[in-house]
Amino acid sequence: MNGLIKAALAVWDFVVGDDWVTAIGVVVALGLTALIAAAGGAAWWVMPAAVIALLALSLRRAAR
């Protein structure tokens, strides 16, 4: 069990790193894209806007 938890933590650290807020933001943006697309709307603009906003916010936190 300990090994599994350690492996999961290692995978988390490898993919997400020290900025989990950005990872959550990516998941939320993908969810919003799926909702808009499922409703028949144009959803392509969500991800570019989210990526720019998430990068800016991440940099702002790091620069403090």
Partner: protein
């Protein structure tokens, strides 16, 4: 192999540069323990890490490629975005002068000093320190290479092309390392990391949105707008962060 589309070319270049960056970092570690302690033990470590990486790729590759295309694009797009934004954030911070530039000569000196401080390597048989450090260095850097090869390759059903680009990058770095007999300190590694971060983020944005059900205006040609858009936005953020601290703070709070 057939003709290369624009997306294939983007895949090959992204994988090549990402793998070159990781290979340069792994080469520095192997050189440091090889030169200061034991070449044979360091090379055994490299071999063991390559075998471990091959097992990871062999296990995860078929699992990824068997996913339905929309699920694959959603999962891979999301992973690439999270991963790419990490690279891009560090690259922007380095370019803005807020994070130390990665310096291979310095990394080599630090690794070599640690190897000397770890005690004598003049024992018969395998030097455990050299083996472990070379194994760990190649495995950790190689995992990033494997991740990029698998995600890019599986998504476009071009794992072979991605693996070929990775192998070419590793061969070029090894050849340059053997020729120079020193860490590759003059390679513009930070600029390469900036470019790779922008590519990972761009492809992640494109595939993630498609996997979530969105349709891009212009189809695949949208990448020709997304990639320059991400690069320009990142450069703008470098300029924003380079401002004097009082300006950064004011602008940051208003954003």
């Amino acid at each position: 192999m057939g003709g290369l589309s624009g997306a294939d070319l983007g895949l090959a270049l992204s994988v090549f540069f990402a793998c070159a960056v990781e290979a340069i970092e792994a080469l520095t570690i192997v050189l440091a323990v090889g030169v200061t302690r034991s070449w044979s033990s360091a090379l055994y470590g490299v071999g063991a890490a390559v075998v471990a990486l091959a097992v990871v790729v062999a296990a995860l590759g078929p699992a990824l490629t068997s996913l339905p295309i929309d699920t694959l694009r959603l999962v891979v797009g999301g992973l690439l975005l999270v991963f790419g934004l990490q690279w891009l954030r560090k690259a922007v911070l380095r370019a803005a002068g807020l994070k130390a530039l990665h310096d291979e000569a310095q990394a080599f000196a630090a690794e070599a000093a640690a190897a000397r401080a770890a005690g004598s390597g003049a024992r018969p048989g395998i030097d455990g320190y050299s083996f472990a450090i070379a194994f760990k260095g190649v495995l950790l850097e190689g995992l990033e290479v494997a991740f990029i090869v698998l995600t890019f390759g599986a998504n476009q059903h071009r794992v072979g092309l991605a693996a070929l680009a990775a192998a070419a990058a590793i061969a070029v770095v090894i050849a340059a390392g053997v020729a120079a007999r020193a860490p590759l300190a003059r390679v513009p590694e930070n600029a390469m990391k900036f470019a790779v971060g922008a590519m990972l983020t761009s492809f992640g944005t494109f595939w993630g949105a498609e996997g979530a059900g969105a349709s891009w205006p212009g189809g695949d040609a949208a990448l020709l707008v997304i990639i320059p858009g991400v690069v320009l936005a990142s450069i703008a953020m470098v300029l924003w962060l380079r401002r004097p601290p009082s300006h950064v703070s004011t602008r940051g709070e208003a954003a």
